[in-house]
Subunit: 325 residues, 3 copies
């Protein structure tokens, strides 16, 4: 792959998943692949798992990772073309990106949406401008609308769970369910999970949420949309829990419906479903202690798998770079 900003950048999700699980068995299998290579990790927003797992993944491949917190250590970047920069922005992406592209072999970038202007957020200006101007592969560490390293991890975790506990029916039933939260969150994780599960094609995929929380069809097309959570959960093998704000009434919280928080009772209707969440999770708001601490929770394992997802992606890009030389 040249860049990694969405599922569309991946030829075969299954091959990438297999590679990730191979690295999990043998973390240092390609410890020389990244020798003499550098990845810059640029954060315009905070990150714990994504940052640390990508650093560990790079290091497992023998690459040097350098973290730069643009929001704290740097200054405000400008993205508009032709603007007279007499305001708060100090440097244009057109100038910063090609410079960073000279310092690093790969650039990985984290940014969040404003949740104020749908068109701006969904234009993914930052990622596209880095791709346009940096001259090196760009890896998304979560963007305004997608979180591909998380979604790859999610598929890896489902696959790993299925390998350990095969199911009888042909395809696992995977349910993405909206959960309550105290403030409006991006649609990234949900969009991205939908995009990847659909692109993977190995699941019977259902998305459930209160009315008004419909995600962009760009990502959910192919999934069954259910407004009745109980019906959606029936015979589910995997339940992915996540809050998001409204896409159509952009960035708004339409409902605080606490009944959407899963409990052991509501989970009874599933096929002893495994529980997933990308973390951080607000306990007893999004998900109850009893479920998070229960034996069906995959959340810790899922977060651990972030390393192998990042390692598979970086290795793929490094191999691609070697072929081009």
């Amino acid at each position: 792959m040249n860049h990694f900003v969405s599922a569309n950048d991946v030829n075969s999700i299954q091959l990438l998943v297999n590679q990730a699980l191979a690295y999990k068995s043998n973390p240092f299998a390609d410890a020389q692949l990244g020798k003499g290579k550098r990845i810059g990790l640029l954060f315009l927003n905070p990150s714990l798992r994504t940052r640390l797992s990508t650093q560990v993944a790079a290091s497992n491949l023998g690459m040097e990772a350098i973290v730069f917190n643009v929001d704290k250590e740097g200054w405000a970047l400008e993205f508009e073309e032709g603007v007279i920069m007499n305001g708060n922005t100090v440097e244009h992406i057109k100038d910063a990106a090609p410079v960073l592209g000279q310092y690093f072999d790969i650039l990985a970038i984290r940014t969040f949406p404003s949740l104020k202007n749908k068109d701006v957020d969904y234009s993914e200006q930052l990622m596209h401008q880095f791709i346009k101007y940096a001259g090196v592969p760009i890896v998304s560490l979560e963007s305004a609308t997608l979180h591909p390293l998380q979604s790859l991890t999610d598929i890896i975790t489902i696959q790993e769970s299925l390998l350990a506990n095969p199911i009888q029916h042909k395809k696992p039933k995977v349910v993405l369910t909206w959960a309550p939260h105290i403030k409006p969150l991006p649609q990234c994780v949900a969009n991205s999970f939908a995009q990847w599960v659909n692109a993977w094609g190995e699941a019977d995929f259902v998305v459930t949420h209160p009315k008004g929380y419909e995600l962009s069809e760009t990502y959910t097309k192919g999934a069954t949309i259910q407004y009745d959570q109980a019906a959606a959960l029936e015979n589910a093998d995997f339940v992915y829990v996540k809050n998001w704000s409204s896409f159509h009434a952009y960035g708004q919280m339409l409902s605080h419906d606490e009944a959407w928080m899963l409990t052991q009772q509501t989970m009874m209707q599933t096929n002893q479903a495994k529980l997933m969440h990308c973390l951080p999770v607000r306990r007893n708001v999004e998900l109850s202690d009893e479920l998070l601490d229960g034996s069906n929770s995959l959340v810790t394992r899922q977060a651990g798998n972030r390393v192998w997802a990042a390692q598979a992606v970086l290795a793929n890009i490094l191999h691609q770079q070697k072929q081009l030389i």
Copy 2:
């Protein structure tokens, strides 16, 4: 050792001191010991010496150290069990710790006390929860009540000084004296120094402070408590200067008594005592320029020894991990 959060985690302080001094002579003696191992350095509070010396120590052992400023780069952690997380905390330690434990072979953590609630501070909730949930060895980079890497350094520095300048009498007289400050500070360094000197057992140990500044007997038991600084200093070989806020009137400054700041005059009563302080020091508030810049000051050497203390501790944990495999 499994963890390193207090003197109680150490079998033999003397062996650890000897190991540290051996590393000082030969920093790269175990440059392969930490190969392929990673330590996460998590800071909930700022740090200069502790952070840098631990990074250097890890690197001397061939380990990779990754710094994460939880307070600045991350978000507020929750520590209470069973709480409904609808407030400011974003992630529970029960979720964060096991994830971090998957990314790192050792986790080192710095936190400070609130100085508002003695029970909360002295419960050392953060350290205990990391030990409970992370699944890897935990190293304290200073906690709410103790600072074991500092105290190990202090013993190393006393030992090193004694080797270079042996004393006639059997045991050196070591005095910990309270000093004035402009704001309330934790009791950590003082508690910890008392705990380590007592556990080491190789000193005649006196603690001196104004009334009301009595430390917890958990740590001072075995030391002589003196309210008369001049009497305490008599024939001292080492004087350790440190401010702390009241333990009993928790977190309060009871006295600004400037007379407690040592001077060349008051030091006349000592046995040409060496002067120690953990730094940072407020000059001419805690200690005078003349003493800090004088030939008996060990403070710079002491701060330099932080590297060897950290290196001995990390090496000990790495050896322990190898034995367990």
Copy 3:
């Protein structure tokens, strides 16, 4: 060289430029030179290019670079001698510098001027105190009045451009021109560029700015000062664009004269001059999009060359250290 804080620390600028261009051809030529050595990068002010290029340079030499953001991760330092530290400063440079000097083989430091007190800023207290107290080589990552790594980069970029496109006349005409800005900036880059071009001696050097923006003669002596920008630009081969605040009316903005922003029209008078700027640049305030995006702009290449400048300087210091052993 022992330290690197101004052009005066360099015996032969030309040799340093040649070394830098050699590293550009072969980045890993001295990949073992810095083995087992550590450089501490201390930031009292933000930095993007300087920080990242120095990290990359150190790594190319096999050195470990550790970044410490003193302003964010540490605390306020005191520089005055003999002061009673009962205010906001937490640690004296006299205590911090020798400690840092024990942790690192080289210390590199970034600080900015206050622009409030000329005498204080031009005394370069911070750099001088680090040189005095740290006991290891000090590298400026930009100080209150100079930015030597930038200026070395600038000479490298001019040299590189001349090698690729030789000029007919004996010496290139190099013009440093003031440009408008929205807020008062330090004189560092301009001072330093003037100092280096003069010390290099291989250019016909002109400085142009509105009246009142005269730089210190300490640095400009030897250059032609022109108040007429158009006249200054005539037959220029290189035009270096930079804003600075007044040196004489210290730290003030005397003029917002937008006519000083270069355009394609004003550049017509030059000898198809190459355009330089240290970045970050406020587009369409300091320099127009058309010039920055035009084929004569060297700014991206110039920023890329920061790596080779830093690498040549660090290698020089490392060689010097080896000779001293």
